[in-house]
Amino acid sequence: MESNLLHYVWQDSGILIEASLVFYLAWTSQWKGQGAVDFYLSSLVVGQLTRACFLHEYGWTSLRYYYAYWSTDFLLVLSAFGVVCLFFRRACLHEEKMWRLIRIFLVLLLVLVAAISGVSLSLNRHDFFTYFVVVFNQKLYFACLVLNTLLYLMLHRMNSADDQLELLVCGVGIQFAGPAATLALVYLTYGGRFAKLLAYQTIPLCTFGMLLVWAYVIVYVPRTAGGLTRRDVLLPAVPAQESKL
């Protein structure tokens, strides 16, 4: 009971923060520069609200809530993949050649995940949700975590000057890594009670953490001026007499 109450509290606070952030972005007219953030926040709000409506209407144990949960999860995982793609695009804004390669890699990865999940579906055709959506969601979620880490390493290697993007990527990393770890723990303990309880609390807590990091980024970290992709090394000023030569 207490666990359910906590879950409701986290879920409602999450919706509240997501809605406030969307409102803040609209209020301060920052929509334009934050396409990925707007997109993911809007998906989160829609997903969470749908789940909350079904939960309120039909309860935890109903089949309709089960379908609503996994359908929204499917959309959220696709949105998460979309966000990572948009972050890659932002990181490669001035590296068109690299972006073309990354784009092909991202499409291939999505097709590969869908194909692997399709194999599980072909073996068990009677239950589309359990054998395709759930497997697809888990695999794509972990793929997003790995992609996000690759993006972080790429930014680090490029010596990117976009501090905002680096922190946004860190926020997404918290959102992906926490649930992935707890869900693996649930699997390893064969759905043990403690692991399940931990997962119920950790997943909304990680979303909460990501939202706090994003809120910090949007409010405090200024967006780097366009055109500067790398931390350019400042050249020493040339004395006036020498420059005349």
């Binding site: 918290i174 926490g178 992935a180 693996a184 390893l188």
Partner: protein, 158 residues
């Protein structure tokens, strides 16, 4: 089973990695000047000298003394963060996250001492958090006018 174990270990490591990177990014915030100097002087904080001795001279410091010094500075600065020139008398979310990070680093310091891995990295990370706290306090105190008092005078009578 092997895949799940691999996912668990990798995800946990990445989770802590991202938290650490986020904290370090926040700590890199630039202040328009070094506000922490006046706070260090007024409160006789020891983390700058500790950091200098580790960075420049690599002088080994007794672990228990080192821990005590950092703990005292941490307590003093968290008190100041909450009470000096802070109208709301509470921490911001960013400060709460950094306080948690600080506690995590204290644990890391103890673990490193037990495993004999060397306390230097954890000490330097703690010093950078403390410097950030001192900068925030200094900036706040500096923003408020107290007649002819300087920031050091104000903190001395707090």
């Amino acid at each position: 089973m092997i895949t799940a174990t691999f996912v668990l270990i990798l995800s946990m490591a990445l989770f802590f990695f991202y938290i650490q990177v986020t904290c370090q990014k926040i700590l890199r915030r630039q202040f328009d000047r070094e506000y922490f100097q006046s706070i260090v002087t007024a409160n006789r904080l020891e983390f700058p000298s500790l950091r200098k001795s580790l960075e420049e001279f690599s002088v080994p410091v007794d672990y228990f003394r080192l821990r005590m010094m950092l703990k005292c500075d941490f307590l003093a600065l968290t008190y100041l963060l909450k009470n000096s020139a802070n109208v709301k008398q509470r921490y911001s979310n960013e400060e709460r996250l950094l306080i948690l990070y600080c506690r995590w680093q204290f644990l890391s310091l103890a673990a490193r001492h037990l495993l004999k891995l060397g306390e230097e990295p954890a000490t330097l990370r703690l010093a950078s958090v403390l410097q950030y706290f001192a900068n925030v306090v200094g900036q706040r105190v500096n923003a408020v006018q107290f007649g002819n008092w300087t920031a050091t005078d104000y903190l001395f009578y707090l």
